[in-house]
């Protein structure tokens, strides 16, 4: 609903100021992204104004670059495994929080949410110490464990919100009609939670693909994409990074549209805002 306050000259100048501010903030948010895309086609490489010699050379270089594509493959494998772990434990944790009483429940809830709000370095280092003490060699597997654990919170928050709206009568009916808990879980509970689960999976996948602070400490021989990019950035500015970022940006746009459609179908509730609030408030 829009509020009209235009009968007051003071407020209409206020509204104009607000509009200018909004445009300026969007410009600020999109400036680096625009630069990134424009300079991925710039023959002179990164920097220098105005951009000239439009070229696809950086994209050609990128497609010939085996190391980058290997890291993309690693990242996809890590993200898919993280989705599996986070969903498996996140859904159970949401059910536990919704339906069971156990000692330390409040602490458990806080603990699950902590990695969302803690700087990644703390979670990354504490896991590094665990793997060191347990004599586990660092590899993609340790990154998977890190991402999977840190992102359980996303699945739990989303699914828990879904459970609050779930009508338990359906599950009750299923149980009364002689279905086992196992059957009821797969045929009634999970289908009813389909949308929060898909939403959580997409969010976990994208967060894992971009994660660097935790991975930074758990990396073995094989790089994930953000770490591969990091390694190259440390060596200097490299235009093929603009090219890969542009490609990922386009893919992300598609993912966001899908994700947003899903959210709107559930009820258009801003999930990220809820995650932030849950993380800060611990519930």
């Amino acid at each position: 609903m829009e509020l009209h306050m235009s009968n007051d000259t003071n407020s209409s100048s206020g509204t104009r100021w607000l509009l200018v501010h909004t445009v300026a903030v969007f410009a600020f948010l999109y400036l680096p992204i625009a630069v990134l895309i424009v300079y991925s086609f710039n023959g002179e490489g990164v920097g220098g104004f105005p951009p000239h010699n439009l070229t696809f050379d950086w994209y050609r270089m990128l497609f010939a670059d085996a190391a980058i594509w290997e890291s993309v493959g690693n990242s996809v494998v890590v993200a898919l495994s993280a989705v599996a772990i986070a969903l498996a434990f996140g859904v159970l944790a949401a059910l536990a929080l919704d339906r069971a009483q156990f000692p330390g429940k409040a602490l458990f809830r806080r603990l699950v949410l902590l990695p969302l709000i803690l700087p990644g370095i703390i979670t990354g280092l504490s896991l590094l110490m665990l793997f060191r003490e347990a004599d586990v060699k660092l590899s993609l597997l340790t990154i998977v464990l890190g991402h999977g654990t840190a992102l359980i919170s996303v699945a739990t928050t989303e699914v828990f919100a879904g459970l609050q709206k779930l009508d338990r009568a359906q599950e009750e009916a299923s149980l009364d009609l002689g279905a086992s808990y196992w059957q009821t879980f797969w045929r009634v509970t999970i289908p009813n939670l389909q949308l929060p689960i898909i939403g959580a999976a997409l969010l976990i996948f994208t967060l894992s693909m971009d994660e660097i602070a935790v991975s930074f400490f758990l990396i073995g021989r094989d790089n994930t994409l953000p770490l591969e990019i990091w390694g190259r950035l440390r060596r200097g500015i490299t235009p093929e990074i603009n090219a890969i970022s542009t490609i990922i940006f386009v893919f992300s746009l598609v993912a966001i549209v899908i994700w947003y459609r899903l959210r709107v179908r559930t009820e258009g509730r801003p999930a990220i805002a809820e995650l932030i609030e849950a993380a800060v408030q611990g519930n």
Partner: protein
């Protein structure tokens, strides 16, 4: 209606997993902070307060922690200043464009953190986009060197990254304000500014607190933006921790600093939650 077995089946696996991969690692960090490193560079598992004495003794740790907090405070402030009016515009004035604008706020979050930080580097560098633009338009003859490799660059980049995160919870809390409260204020003769400061703003405080805490805490612990854009004057506390876990090889001291950060963060979350409860009207 759920049997004991069902409740155990949903509770035990996540409980065990979270204990092994979250609780024990955080406790291990606590233990490490009381251990030490031998001359042969192995970790000695005997208890000592030396790491904490070292922290109190060496000024660099405190100075860097305070500098990090100062950087984080500026990021928080700027994110609020940019994010609040944006959220307000979307919630009260965007009308049919609301959904589109909301998506436009979300989209930058899907561009890699690292890549956006690096884009700022290409903008701010001495032969970067901004400096060459200034020279091209003859606004400046020489490149401005202070833009990159400074705390300014770190604050700018982190503000860019955390503004959407700050805006989202504020927007959510503005959306929850019943519109008839706002109308009632107008009808009872409240001016727009009175309506804002006495009705809307107090009701949006929970969102402000969530966004501010998120921006402060996550920029406090950042180590990538300072490494990419900070230069020597932009070093933050996490950079010290990274070097203690890397080249300097003193994990216990690094763990002690991390634990201080952890305590600081948990303390802030506690305060923020208290304030949130105080200002929550629902």
């Amino acid at each position: 209606m759920f049997s004991r077995a069902y409740r155990a089946a949903v509770t035990v696996p996540p409980l065990v997993w979270v204990t092994v991969f979250l609780l024990i690692p955080y406790l291990l960090m606590f233990c490490y902070s009381f251990w030490s490193v031998s001359m042969a560079q192995t970790v000695v598992h005997s208890w000592t307060l030396d790491n904490y004495r070292e922290l109190l003794r060496v000024n660099v740790y405190w100075q860097t922690l305070f500098r990090s907090m100062w950087i984080a405070a500026r990021v928080m402030l700027f994110s609020l200043l940019l994010g609040y009016p944006l959220a307000y515009y979307l919630s009260f004035h965007a009308a049919r464009r609301k959904d589109l604008l909301y998506q436009l706020v979300i989209i930058p979050l899907w561009v890699s953190y690292l890549v956006r930080a690096y884009a700022w580097k290409t903008i701010l560098g001495s032969d970067g986009v901004l400096n060459t633009l200034l020279q091209y338009t003859h606004l400046s003859k020489h490149p401005l060197e202070f833009l990159l490799y400074s705390p300014f660059a770190v604050v700018l980049t982190l503000t860019h990254i955390y503004t959407p995160f700050t805006m989202l919870p504020i927007y959510a809390s503005l959306e929850h304000i019943p519109r008839n409260l706002v109308e009632a204020s107008h009808d009872l003769g409240g001016s727009p500014s009175q309506t804002f400061w006495r009705v809307i703003f107090p009701l949006s405080i929970p969102g402000v607190l969530a966004g501010a805490t998120f921006a402060f805490v996550l920029s406090l612990g950042d180590f990538l933006a300072p490494l990419l854009l900070g230069g020597p004057s932009g070093i933050m506390i996490s950079n010290i921790v990274v070097s203690l876990f890397g080249a300097a090889y003193n994990w216990p001291l690094g763990a002690a600093i991390s634990l201080c950060m952890l305590v600081l963060v948990v303390g802030l979350l506690f305060i923020s939650e208290r304030l949130e409860k105080k200002w929550s009207f629902t």
